[in-house]
């Protein structure tokens, strides 16, 4: 008996009210067509979403947790990067 596993896929679901796909978990499937079907069966049983993205886990490249301080902390003390010094008139909506 072979010990091979099907490839692992990361599953992203967009809900009816949502604008973006959220990561909900992973599944194993032999190819992208069955990956969509398996994701539908495992992650949308309770009407969680209206759109599914699957990406093979090997194609997801992530930042190292150990690098978090040098990647993200420098931005904390740079107030000039935030557009908070303007008075926005009421007539300009959606800003």
């Amino acid at each position: 008996m072979s010990n091979q596993e099907w490839p692992l896929w990361e599953v992203f679901i967009r809900s009816k009210q949502g604008l973006n796909h959220k990561h909900v978990g992973s599944i194993r499937a032999s190819d992208e067509v069955l990956a969509i079907e398996n994701a539908r069966d495992v992650y949308t049983r309770r009407s969680e979403g209206v759109s599914i993205w699957v990406v093979e886990s090997k194609h997801v490249f992530a930042s190292e947790p150990n690098d978090a301080d040098s990647l993200f902390e420098p931005a904390d003390s740079k107030v000039y990067r935030h557009p908070t010094f303007y008075d926005v008139p009421d007539e300009v909506s959606h800003m």
Binding site: R28, A29, S30, L34, E37, N38, R40, D41, V42, R45
Partner: protein, 252 residues
């Protein structure tokens, strides 16, 4: 045959197919080859049992003798079930289950495409809801036939064996008698002409892609619609009916 009686019999036939196949698939619960397929198979089982509930409830109303869907599902004798023989066959390996499903789904998808146009409002509504489920079931089973057939040597051998074993039960999908004839004559059912040809076209295309060979043995087995079942139904019913018969009128 009067129209009401014919419609009762017809809806009963559809309901029994869904009920028995739904029960067979439920036997996979917890035993699927992988988690994802275990969930997929149970989803399909639940869809079919849901269809059976709708159909047998409607059948009870048409019969007009006070039987509800539970009485019809759980309290008949073996020869009173009108399901086709295909759906009562044992599950076998995953491939055999998929082959049985493939034959059934492709037939039901084509049938419901027509039934949604029936002037019988209730039947059309049931068909409309079931059609969406069936399209997904068909995609799922078709994709598996292709992968198992055009797969490894072992998967090909096993799925070919399943095709050889089940093909003789496929003909009964298209069995009709005075029940269907009465309904078509009176415009309740749309014509079923050409259904078998469409089914053959679809099935042969998928089997070809799966590099599988259709059996040349022309023997076809039927009898289910008339209550003449294989040895499997009796044993299936001992499980299906156990709770209702052991605890009559029990409710969840």
């Amino acid at each position: 045959m009067n129209i009401q009686e014919a419609l009762f019999q017809y809806v009963l036939r559809l309901g029994d197919d869904s009920l028995i196949l739904g029960h067979r698939l439920s036997e996979w619960c917890g035993h699927g080859p992988v988690l994802e397929e275990d969930i997929a198979t149970i989803n399909i089982s639940l869809d079919l049992i849901g269809q059976a509930t709708n159909l047998l409830e409607y059948a009870g109303k048409l019969e007009g003798k006070g039987r509800d869907e539970d009485a019809i599902a759980f309290l008949r004798l073996e020869h009173e079930y009108t399901n086709i023989l295909l759906v009562e066959q044992t599950n076998g390996d995953f491939g055999k289950t998929m082959m049985r499903q493939f034959f059934f789904d492709s037939y039901r998808k084509l049938l419901f495409d027509r039934l949604v146009k029936s002037p019988d409002v209730q039947l059309a509504a049931i068909a409309d809801k079931a059609l969406k489920e069936t399209k997904y079931h068909l995609k799922h089973s078709s994709e598996w036939i292709i992968r198992l057939g055009d797969g490894t040597e072992e998967s090909h051998r096993r799925i070919q064996d399943s095709l050889d074993a089940l093909y003789k039960y496929s003909n009964e999908l298209f069995f009709t008698d005075e029940v269907e004839a009465t309904l078509v004559e009176n415009g309740i059912l749309p014509s079923l002409d050409g259904l078998e040809d469409e089914w053959n076209t679809y099935v042969q295309a998928i089997l070809k892609e799966a590099t599988l060979t259709i059996p040349t043995n022309n023997w076809k087995q039927s009898g289910g619609r008339l209550g003449k079942h294989t040895e499997h139904l009796g044993m299936l019913l001992t499980e299906l009916q156990y709770m209702q018969r052991a605890y009559p009128n029990m409710k969840w």
